[in-house]
Symmetry: D2
Subunit: 365 residues, 4 copies
């Protein structure tokens, strides 16, 4: 595990007192990627565009959207002031071929519904010309896919060397960060049970009755609980890579909020552990991670604290005489759970500061 | 366990096709309680007033509120049309003494913050004149208190014979209904872990920063997770009464919604059980319960479906080769988790139909 | 204007102290309608089913839904407990012909998207056999349609004599109740400007991006402001019937809430009027109306106070030395703005108590 | 009116395609203010801290909070990662004296409840040492106060020359931007009626029942409508300065959303004007304003589009044959309505680029 850039780069801030991860000048020798965002009108696509716009290493060369092709970005990305916007108009996916051939684009970020990037990349072979691909869908998250799993806290060096990265899912990122230290420590023994709330943007932007306002205001629901949810194997692979061969049960829940994952996990421990020791181990494991914060003992996470940031908050303790691990995590599903993590991965792939263009500080309202 | 009245009383409905639990005439020979609601301006107090107003067996003889004493009900119970309201103005607690002495009041329903009813009833000895007391706080929920624990699905006959009833907490009601069949079946083996979301009304009506609108919109939080939460011993007592001596871990969460509890629990099973058998056992156990519904296999609860009803929805399955029980429950914290259950208990205490004045049907928006 | 039934029927309540409009026995000599609800799965259709289920004069004989035909009501009306439900399974519109012919159905309540009832009733001539029709869409709200406009506060006697009633829109109901007394008094002089918030259920239940949860949480929008909105001529007709020939400007707004209309209107007055006189006039005008309440001077409406009730709250004053009328109104768009008003109209058409099955009391959360 | 810096400074962005107002290097010759934020824990105080943290011209030298004195910023400003935070711990107001004397602080930004800054500055005379003061309360918004009214779109040059600035209220900013061109054009004739929605953060962060979650979810309310609201004279002063001596009626409304103002105004016009001409005039008037955008004809504002930005969206048309002006505006009450406008004013006072540290682009969710 290499030392993340956060503390070093923080040093350049000109103001004597400030949030250390505020925007700042960056040495311009680092490579700049010419990025095409495929599926730019969905929630994670839009979020990527917003985050990348302020990033000195990412030039937004193409925004791809079948639905909005030909329309200026400010007409279909809510909130943009057209006078302030230098973004290109949307193009069809077919337009990418020529842009890759003549190197106007060298990096693809796919923010498509599950299945669509696999289909598109199989069909249009010129897309293989891209120097870098980050796919935010679940299409290539299995180990046999040729994509590196884009989970920096576990696979930082592999990502830095990769040309193809499969960005983790939002649930899996939260679960993986909650359980990784315990898995690495060899503590997990027997099934892990996970209960997690997701904000509604996690269900995508296509209009559906189940994500309509009236159906959700003031109500929470469980859906597809069990072991069959697509995220279960993704979480099990993370744990297996860390040496823990345990099965996972998962209870996803939809809460009336636009953003955020709030997750709790419990598991029997292989031997009794003291709460202090578990906490200290977690704190040490994540001490150098810019985007993971282990909360003080007795403090529990809230999605509010991590909203609009790339940070994941983790809390951990043991119950029942040290025989049950109880761990919780909160993150923003559109940032650390999607677009922010994609940028973290691109930073690694480009050899730029890992935390560039990202914030550790949440904006709660 | 006696047969609940729901199916029988449903027969009287005049309309050929209707929701069976719609309001209907009731034989007037049954006793009518003269009720004082103490703490009528809080969320559960108001909810009790609304539900009791349409109940032919409950005459609202006094509304007690220090803050609003002397003011007509329509001025401090939001939504009431003063022209339609025959409720009395609020009185001070001190006024109850005379009302009990001359039998204008014979039943007390205490909807006070925790600790307040214990203090008030110790201080004002005339309150002991009441023929019936239902306390919605946690003050007398322990077995040594002389109060019967008002959980009809477990203690129906004792409640029917009681003069003092401690109404269960909202979290404990959801947890108890989720776990009762498994406990009775002797399946529970080892610690039970519970993760539960609560709507904000569960935190009471006193103004607090942590329940302010801006602090909660679009955000979910964990608070006081572990084994120390006041509800843990309450849940453990229910399970013990059913023969299961297991410890409980509890993760309460605050979700951005006014009403509702959504709870999941998992526990290791003493021996592998088939999902079908678990489901069938739960369905049989609750078949005669008017206010518990076991959802079809594969369907999971939502707070929306039980909103404003006295119903609790329960879903159950097993994971990990039948070795882990996974059960979920949803209810409305102000109804089945508070005021509705208080009415259910009063119905039993009065010898009236158990479901009188209550609805099994949720109103989702 | 005949005296509404509210005060009389309130007298029967058995409990000494209660909300006067709580459910109560009703003389059974009154006629019972056999109702088919067409479009029963939309928000107003569902609301009608819920309200009508407890109504002794309305037998729900058929629920019509193309989408859900053949499915039990509890599978597609959220919240219903199938054990408590005596509602019929959904049928196709085509099934109504035979039901009308053999008098299993004699009353049609159309809760369809605008345009659909006009098309359906033109196409299927057997539908003309119905003894009574209430259409909740805008299809027949113009005076030339042969339908009576179902605004009881203005057209009570005509409704009572009608066989076809066009139920007013939710915006128009709020605007009409806000302005009717001023129009009748001859005070309105010059254009009326209306600004109104609507809850999201007013946009219907079809899945649309613009009514998706994420698009609406924490945000309010103006849409189609001006004089072209479909509701403007509807409001102008109400005012004209009352003698006020003024034009109307309208600013509809979508607020992040499921239910409710909150409306303000201002207009120049033909001559200066004192605030006390305006208030007294409004109070007198609505004194006998069960479902309109004029708030005390200085109190302004909130949608919370009328939620889930059939009541409209109205506040009125004058500004600028008595030369500008300022009036506000709040109602529940699904009740007084749709299904509740439909029941009020059916009560009138059937000669039953006008307020039967309806509540004047709001349920704020 | 000087040309705002937005287009010029946008030119430095390194990326070929980007949001033009994204963070960027700034010439460091410009003066840097040493800022004390007084009342830093309220919503506008926190927002100021967040915005100022990334601002190269504002050094956060002191955060003043009686409640949190001595505590590190990350413990009381939600969302901050203590590892990323270089903010000072909170101090008591008394600590400012010494900091002003030895020039550790030279600029005061008061984010206190109304009345508190007036009292504090009268009591502690050392506060007069500050080179610059921006007060966000209503204490000094009248013309006789010696403070310049901080409304850049009207008083840019006076602000640039000022040492004391009274930051406008959120309602007044929206109203003023909606009406300023019409007032300057001499079109306004007769009373202006304003209806406005505010997000809940506008009511401050002190815990109150009326801003509690349950009281507000799914509900909108009118409060203190009329001509007496504190903002009415503030709006009338803006119009008078522009030559329009008209009275204003105001209907403030609380909507269930954390942020945002959505305002509509109507007024009789002194002579009929064509819609195209009104729109063209507004567009020209605001063409050089970085933070005001006139929407295309037929497009109406939404708070979503301006959330978390310093932009105000304005839409304008005429009704009733050109005799009624209808104008609407949306802004974020915590940014353009408070902290963002304070930074815009500080930029002017410091001679820095007016749009520095601020964004024209909204972040809708």
């Amino acid at each position: 595990m290499t030392l993340p850039e956060v503390s070093r780069s923080a040093g350049v801030v000109a103001t004597p007192l400030a949030l250390a991860d505020a925007p700042r000048p960056v040495a311009s020798a680092a490579p700049v990627a010419r990025v095409a965002v495929i599926g730019a009108s969905g929630y994670s696509g839009q979020e990527f565009v917003r985050l990348a716009s302020g990033h000195p290493g990412l030039a937004l060369a193409a925004l791809v959207s079948r639905e909005h092709a030909g329309r200026p970005a400010a007409q279909w990305i809510p909130g943009l002031d057209p006078r302030a916007t230098r973004l290109p108009a949307a193009v069809m996916p077919e337009a990418l071929d020529a842009m890759l051939v003549d190197a106007r684009v060298d990096t693809l970020v796919a923010c498509l519904p599950h299945g669509a990037w696999k289909a598109l990349s199989a069909e249009r072979t010129e897309l293989a010309l891209a120097s870098r691909v980050v796919d935010l869908s679940s299409d290539f998250r299995d180990d046999a896919s040729g994509y590196v799993y884009g989970f920096p806290e576990q696979l930082r060096d592999a990502i830095a060397a990769a040309k193809r990265v499969a960005n983790p899912g939002c649930y899996a990122t939260a679960a993986a960060l909650a359980l990784l230290p315990a898995a690495e420590a060899g503590w997990l023994d027997g099934p892990v049970m996970i209960s997690a709330l997701s904000g509604v943007s996690g269900a995508g932007r296509a209009a559906q009755l189940r994500t309509s306002y009236v159906e959700l205001e003031g109500a929470a629901s469980i859906y597809r609980a069990g072991t069959e949810h697509a995220h279960v194997p993704e979480i099990e692979r993370v744990l297996r890579r860390a040496g823990a061969f345990v099965s996972v049960g998962f209870v996803p829940q939809l809460a009336p909020m636009s953003r955020g994952i709030l997750l709790t996990a419990n598991a029997p421990l292989s031997r009794p552990v003291r709460a202090d020791d578990v906490h200290a181990f977690y704190a040490r494991r994540y001490a150098q991670e810019p985007f993971v914060r282990v909360l003080d003992a007795g403090v529990w996470p809230t999605t509010r604290a991590v909203a609009r940031s790339n940070r994941c908050d983790v809390a951990v303790t043991v119950l029942h005489g040290g025989r049950t691990l109880l761990v919780a995590a909160a993150l923003d599903n559109l940032v650390k759970g999607a677009a922010g993590q994609a940028i973290q991965n691109l930073n690694l792939m480009l050899g730029r500061p890992e935390s560039e263009g990202l914030t550790m500080n949440g904006s709660p309202w």
